[in-house]
Amino acid sequence: MPYPRYLRPRALREAVELLAATPDARPLAGGTDLLVALHARTIAPTALIDVGKLTELRGITEADGALEIGAAESYTALLRSPLVARHASALADAARTVGAAQIQNRGTLGGNLGTASPAGDTLPVLLAADATIVTDRRTIPIAAFFVGYRRTALAPDELIVRIRVPRDGRVIRFRKVGTRQAQAISKVVLAVCRDPARVAVGSVAEVPLRAATAEAALARGDLDGAVEAVGRDIRPIDDVRSTAVYRRAVTQRVLRRLLTA
């Protein structure tokens, strides 16, 4: 089988230049999604641009009232980081539910965003946190990041560099429902905040979404209304993992639990 070229730039600037100069190249970090697709031949990129060890994409730091997470930081790094535990513990909760040790050691936060699966486990947390995606050329509010099924607002040669999570003390609660605790792709995944009112749900539409009318009800303190509304905000389907009926019922039940427990 013909392999794509493997290129390892030494700096962010070089990586972006390579991406721009190589049509149909794909950035590679942890590889936990990309290598599956490559081997199954569902994608055929001309080149893999390995950005996994770029220093610009590494590190978890506090800056300007925000937590800044390098796009190539792994799930294991997230769940071991004292800064993440202190300022974004729901992100560690989500990281802990991704795959198992083998995937957590390789998969990255930037990769979860770039793949933009509706089932991406960290994505509802980032939505509930009002995270910002810092790329090589601009910042993108997460609310504007997911534009379609596995499609993002990124330009083809644009690279996610850091993820900025506001450090505003908001309390986000996370719950993933899958077939088992490890190695499961979500049937439903939720991240919820009371103040400000945020209800973010994955695996219930073509994109991870914020449930707008549920949030409006929650902002009024109407918990029953929020639970009822979320059933209309989501657009679940029947697929290999679950059914629309189950996903709607579980989303409503889990939301109630997260709001009242």
Partner: protein, 152 residues
């Protein structure tokens, strides 16, 4: 050329960087202890350690291993003798068909390196990414727990 170490031995090979580490280990280096199960990161049969961390070698492009220390199941023995963990799998009848066993050993080895005295739940969590269709896991968990070294 891609250079890294495998089981402490330096290797340098001319392979496409996008090739799977799994294929390079099995086909180029003839280290066939590492198995391919699902080929998509679900089963853990291809688990190896890279710089001490357990990973699925089917999801690593070999170029990404440049400069790393790779440990495969062949690297667990010491001077021709099975490692205590390997012997424990035999003693506890923790292998039946054996396809998952190398990956189980590597996940368990990674755990014990970091947590020498794990709880049963630690063990279950550590092998949660490794599927076994034969044993029902209980004997595997017992074998790993038998290798605990208690903190004094």
């Amino acid at each position: 050329m891609i250079a890294f170490t495998v089981n402490g031995r330096p290797v340098s090979l001319d392979a496409p960087g996008a090739r799977r580490l799994l294929d390079v280990l099995r086909e180029d280096l003839r280290l066939t202890g590492t198995k391919e199960g699902c080929g998509e990161g679900e089963c853990g049969a291809c688990s190896v350690l890279i710089d001490g961390e357990v990973v699925n070698s089917c999801l690593v492009a070999v170029g990404q291993a440049e400069g790393s220390d790779v440990l495969t199941v062949e690297g667990l023995e010491r001077s021709g003798a099975l490692a205590p963990l390997q012997q424990a799998f035999i003693d506890h009848a923790a292998a039946q068909c054996g396809i998952c066993t190398p990956g189980m050993l590597m996940a368990a080895h990674a755990l014990l390196q970091e947590t020498p005295d794990p709880s049963p739940d630690d063990v279950r969590r550590a092998i949660a990414g490794n599927l076994c269709r034969c044993t029902g896991y209980t004997k595997i968990i017992e074998a790993i727990l038998a290798c605990r070294t208690r903190a004094t």
